[in-house]
Amino acid sequence: MTVLDLQARRVNERPRPAELPAGEAGLAIRVGDVTKGYGARTVLKSLSLEVEARRIVAIVGRSGGGKSTLLRLLAGLESPDSGTLAIGGEPAARQQSHVRLMFQDARLLPWQRVLGNVGIARTPGWERAAREAIEHVGLSGHAADWPRTLSGGQKQRVALARALVSRPGVLLLDEPFGALDALTKRDMHQLLTRIWGERGFTTVLITHDVAEAIALADRVLVLREGRFVVDVDVPLERPRRIEDARVGALAAQILREV
């Protein structure tokens, strides 16, 4: 456990990290040789990544390192210059309905109450599903509230409920806890881990906080200048705590590599 090989390795060579969750919703992700640039600047340089179904993978790195670009590609918001993106064995562009993205800011519609925001897609039977999802993230009693009356943490809970109401196979998290205070952040970590444990959606988390990455993920990758420079499993059992000494030790080790 103390000797961690921090070199990038292939998925199937790695020892098993923490146990898989019970739910079976998760879809595998495969990023093959993806290059993406804006104008003269290349953001991702023939990047490859395989994520097993039902895992939580965290990608850390400096801002501008291409983390968000990778997530936007997986969400189908942009397409790569070259390379392939597959989710559950299908091209990512066709799997949009199985992929949900949570943003840094909650991005709730201010003219919709909590219920209307969670059920934004208005699919048949949306109201019951939305109420369930709201209860699931611990906001029962707030269904009829306007978003502006909610705290930052509550807004992100609504955003999480909105992301999960359609039972996606992949959840993409673009630093959604970055703006929260330490206590609220810890509550959100616990909430996310609990729901993931029940549903088992594959999760890709982007963060600049290495300790947060270790507290949540099965595997942590460091993205620098468009390439993964570190790829390490997190062999700690759940539940984890961000203030745990082993989390800190692992974080220190990863930061040394960066």
Binding site: Q96, R100, F103, P110, W111, Q112, A121, W146, R148
Partner: protein, 275 residues
Amino acid sequence: MAVSADTSRIPGRRISLRLRKGLLPWLAPLVLAGLWQAASSFGLLSTRVLPAPSAVVAAFVAAVEDGSLLNHTAISAWRALEGLVIGGGIGFLFGVLNAAWRPAEQLFDTSIQMLRNVPHLAIIPLVILWFGIGEGAKIFLVAIGALFPIYLNTYHGIRTVDPALIEMGRVYGLSRRELFWRVVLPGALPSILVGFRFSLGIVWLTLIVAETISASSGIGYMTMNAREFLQTDVVLLGIIIYALLGKAADSATKAIERRVLAWHPSFQEAREVAA
């Protein structure tokens, strides 16, 4: 703290406070009307210049009794509504089209901006030549007046909808139509309603001018007709009716805003203060 606790314990004082608050805006007009009545009664004001308030009230009663007031008011209000719906509708459609579709903007925006800068009352001679003094002339003028504020504010409102929310809608699988109805239009609504209120003001102004210049019915016609017979009381009554109609339209818009913009922080505060 102590003061508010005191007043809340005495219901009588709270009611009188509320009453005072409700009456206060009317105090100035009432005092003015009183002075005016006194000046007329003592012969300081010639009825040719300004009839006494009591004479205006008498004219009001007479006009209600012979049905002419209701008739003229209904005709004016109907013209305002028709012009507003036609002009506002066209302005709204072009606002949406040009904001959402670049080729349309390139095709139409310059022309619309050019037309916008022509004072619409300047085309009255042309309108009379086209439509004579029939209904068409007045509705055309009102529609032209109502068009541009709604066009500009719809365009601006749609253009300034938070792009982050539109991106969110796309990630959450909304179709283009759903995106428009659930994200773009509600986001642009505060701005569209501002345009609507501007348009309302212009509608009344246009109607007054159009009805006094060329009409055989409506409040404007009523006042111009009264002028020929030196009925200053009826002229004044017409002006007051215009003021009341404008105020009623403005209040209606405010009520609509409060309802459809209940989510908006500024309207929320206003409502909490009112409550």
